[in-house]
Symmetry: C2
Subunit: 217 residues, 2 copies
DNA sequence: GATATTTTTGGTGTCACTGCAAGTTTTAAG
DNA sequence: CTTAAAACTTGCAGTGACACCAAAAATATC
């Protein structure tokens, strides 16, 4: 928890950030050790030296203690599509981003061993799994907004939302695959290879038409 | 709540089904009137004339009181794909099912006025929205299983899961569109038309390639 | 250094949900 | 028909997330 003192920030603001970080870190440590469900908010508060009420001042729900800094993840997909070169399609942009993330072990993709424990905590908590689904939904909504924006048709047109559903659905499935494999303890190198070829094949299909997906491989 | 006496069913079994139905119906009535969050399980129990504990004997969570008989919905997508004619693709099957559901006001598609209140109850309850996401996930998993089965590649191959992600994602988005429009009070006829053309365009794209989806319409 | 503003805290309450032990009803055996 | 076992309901006593409020403590403003 490294913090530098920003002159433009009063003491109050500083302490708030410290406390928030202290709480999130303390909580994550306890969750990693005992699992999400078996740690109470009161325990987090005690371990951090504050009152239980203070925890709820900073984090509206217990799950927020775990998914701190989620907004970057939620916006990522839409960002990727917005920033893509003018001559490429949205699907290509997402494919390229996934492949790039797989190639250089980007932590957001979840292939690092540190992420493995993260996934494991989620895997055995229904509440966290539900939260993850919600993050996926928000990510899809952001993508839909990006697509709608560039399509120029009004908000009554459902097409961007349906396309976003398909693209975000494939994207989520890829991330879910990584998650599943990491939780199962598969070595990162194997996961990377397996998922890479799957991404290539799946996004080829998406690009050129899922009509090409019948039986057999 | 019409029940016929099945001779093969003992009295105990009969009463159980009656009680379950009584509880689900009572609960739905209260939810429709006051909203999900403002009805307590204890109130449902009292209205049904049983003890609160009995409610939990039948329904593990409060949300299950609302989403009774959800399993049919969860299996639908996979069913549609499994039952499709041999010469059509999975995407075509889903498209055809959606269009058919839109044409004859199938209740599962959610265009009936009775479904409108259903959607509205969900819309203003975070817990129910979360549950709906979970149903969508299970539906996607079932589709993935169906695709994996017919692809013949082993369970290590992620491709069916990613394809299922895309197809189920588009499907969910279409249902979500209907839901949103109905909650907003749009007349069913308008929704039907708007969604129908969107389904046609979106699934054309999925069939022939999302590369065809750039800017402009 | 006095005062206004935030933040923290303690207290109290609600509600979903769990576990257990004591009834009560249904079923099956004799 | 009697009776004992199995299944179901209920009351009771928790636990834990979270809401609301009012009093204290910390910080900012003048």
């Amino acid at each position: 928890m490294i913090l530098r003192y920003d002159a433009a920030m009063g003491l109050r603001e500083l302490k708030k950030q410290q406390t928030r970080e202290l709480l999130a870190d303390t909580a994550m440590g306890l969750f990693a050790e005992h699992g999400f469900e078996r740690v109470t908010v009161a325990e987090v508060a005690r371990a951090a030296g504050v009152s239980p009420n203070t925890v709820f001042n900073y984090f509206p729900t217990k799950e927020d203690l775990f998914f701190d800094r989620q907004d970057a993840v939620v916006g990522h997909l839409a960002e990727v599509v917005r920033r893509r070169p003018a001559d490429s399609s949205a699907v290509d942009a997402v494919r390229a981003d996934l492949l790039a993330g797989l190639a250089d072990g980007e932590p957001t993709i979840g292939l690092t061993p540190r992420m493995a424990t993260f996934w494991r905590i989620i895997a055995d908590s229904p509440a966290l799994r539900a939260r993850l689904l919600e993050l996926g939904e928000r990510s899809e909504a952001a993508l839909a907004a990006a697509l709608a924006e560039e399509s120029g048709t009004g908000p009554a047109d459902p097409l961007p939302r349906v396309v976003a559903g398909a693209v975000a659905g494939a994207h989520r499935a890829v991330l879910g695959e990584i998650r599943r494999a990491m939780v199962a303890g598969e070595p990162a190198e194997e996961v990377r290879e397996r998922v890479r070829t799957a991404v290539e094949r799946a996004f080829d299909l998406l690009t050129s038409g899922l009509a090409g997906y019948r039986s057999g491989q």
